[in-house]
């Protein structure tokens, strides 16, 4: 009997390796049906856009309208970047909010947070484990959109001989185009990490997952409203959502990095504040 061979008098136990905790969290996140359904739905986003673009082209409209979506017509490699940018406005933050809500508030409502603290995982490591799980959801969701976007762009939309025509009118090769898609994906994950840190902080104060969802969505909507009020223009640089159109910068040539950079900096501030609140709260939370 394996268990019987453990000598409980053999001194203090060593904590479970952090990698094992991460593996446990990964398994838990990926076994959750709603996570998998969510990933499936994200795969549909670029496919639906692709179909929409192709159908619009078929109408004989030619250039398929203006804007980011319009520029996809006959230029498939725009699709992943457009899909990520569109999803970032609501769908991706929602996914991160769901993951964050389940991560702490959900565990608390099932009484499983208690089990983790009793193991003991350690409160700081618990935060790390939960942040890892949320980050995995953000990364996978973004990658699903990016990869399916590239494939759907090349297969369904096609055009430009596997090249990307930038908004500036120049042409870049497949390799660099994929590199730019990767850059936008990385930047998107950074923005989502900020959303995740704040969502986890909210999650650490409640045992009702819905509160987390409501807070994140309410926050996004509030930010959106604030940014439309001219008298509050001075507030815009501090709003996380202000920089969320910077993803389209990757379609310009030469690549302007100031928008991506400054929005990443804002995200970093949200991340640090969220993490600080999260850690403070989790070190004291009753379970």
């Amino acid at each position: 009997m394996t268990a019987a061979t453990i000598d409980t008098t053999a001194g203090d136990p060593r904590p479970v390796p952090t990698l094992r905790l991460f593996a446990a969290e990964l398994r838990w996140v990926l076994r959750r049906p709603r996570t998998l359904i969510m990933f499936g739905l994200f795969a549909l986003v670029p496919i639906l856009i692709a179909i929409g673009v192709v159908v619009a082209d078929g109408d004989g409209d030619g250039n398929g309208g203006r804007g980011l979506i319009g520029s996809i017509g006959g230029n498939g490699l725009v699709l992943p970047i457009a899909a990520m940018t569109i999803s970032l406005t609501l769908l991706l933050p929602l996914a991160v909010a769901v993951a964050s809500a389940d991560a702490i508030a959900g565990e608390a409502s099932h009484g499983t947070l208690r089990g983790l603290l009793l193991s003991p995982v350690g409160r700081l490591r618990l935060v790390g484990m939960k942040a890892f799980g949320v980050l995995v959801v953000a990364v996978v969701a973004t990658l699903v959109i990016a990869v399916v976007g590239v494939l759907a762009g090349l297969v369904v939309v096609g055009g430009a001989d596997g090249q990307l025509i930038t908004l500036s009118g120049t042409t870049v090769g497949l390799g660099e185009a994929v590199g730019r898609v990767g850059l936008v994906a990385l930047w998107t994950v950074g923005q989502l990490a900020a959303v995740g840190a704040v969502a986890l902080a909210v999650s650490s104060f409640t045992e009702h997952p819905l509160v987390v969802l409501a807070s994140v969505l309410g926050g996004l909507i509030t930010f959106g409203v604030l940014s439309t009020i001219p008298a509050l223009d001075w507030l815009a640089p501090y709003l996380l959502t202000t920089g969320w159109s910077a993803g389209a910068d990757a379609l310009r040539d030469p690549l302007p990095l100031d928008g991506l950079g400054s929005s990443s900096l804002v995200a970093l501030v949200y991340l640090v504040v969220g993490a600080a609140v999260l850690i403070t709260r989790m070190s004291r939370r009753d379970a």
Binding site: R20, H110, G115, L118
Partner: protein
Amino acid sequence: MTDRGTGGGTALDTAPTHGAPGPVPAAGAMAARAVGLRKVFGTTVAVDGIDLDVPAGSVFGMLGPNGSGKTTLIRMLLGLTRPSGGTAELLGRPVPDGLSATLPDVGALVEGPGFHPFLSGRENLRRVAMTEPRLGRSEIAAAVETALERVGLAGAAGRRFRGYSLGMKQRLGLASALLVPRRLVVLDEPTNGLDPSGTREVRRIVGELRAGGATVLLSSHLLAEVEAICTHVAVLQAGSLVVSGELSTLLDAGAGGLEITVDDTGAAVEALRAAGATAFTEAPGTVVADGGPPAPRLLAALVHAGIDVFEVHRRRPHLEELFTRLTEDRNDRDGESA
């Protein structure tokens, strides 16, 4: 320190031979200790300055009506709730600073079993096992199966927790507390929702744990259950400790005289009164003697008086009577002071 020496009788998943001496706990070692522990939620005093010692190797039953502070006290001992005042110790180390060293040797089922409804019983247990410091990664699968079998859940392990009955949920909670051999097992209302056979199994498991040298701290409102399996009890009432100590001592202290079966009750009462005891006839053929000289002297008096004595036993109250008396006394007092 509560080092139990090298007895090494921690093979908890092998059937113990009852009566075999387990490892002897170091004299005076406490598996858990509360000193002036207090918890206030808003204006409600949930636990009001409790001092409690849970001796190593005991089966310690915590009794009390709903809302008497049992669970809050347990949660503070395990570091799940920060006390408003006082200190707690677990396996000889302070809470919460020593928890990372002590909790791996503590199994707990607190406030009902907490599991994920979308995972199977086995997968839920596996997740708990992944975070157990005492389990190596290669030992997880075997430990999970052993624990499932031990609580009689092996057959339903593949089913989702969502579909479990209350009793099955409770069994899974027990299984997670027993994943590795423990020095202390804390069971909050362990028989909740269990059928009679489940209740018997809990009793068997507690017996096994004790034989293996572990300390068991359980809370319950089932007095018969506690009386059957506990060596020590503590009675809580409205956040305060009413009494605590060894069960047999407490019951003896509440003893109510001798019950003597004789052929002639009238003569017996006379003889007993003559010997200085308070005596009366209770049922036909039975007299009760209280106070006065010790039992052997009373019996000698009866025999000298030529009365045939068929049976004598001390009236020991059941825990239920003791509990009722203790908690009702207190209610009366509270009523007067209010």
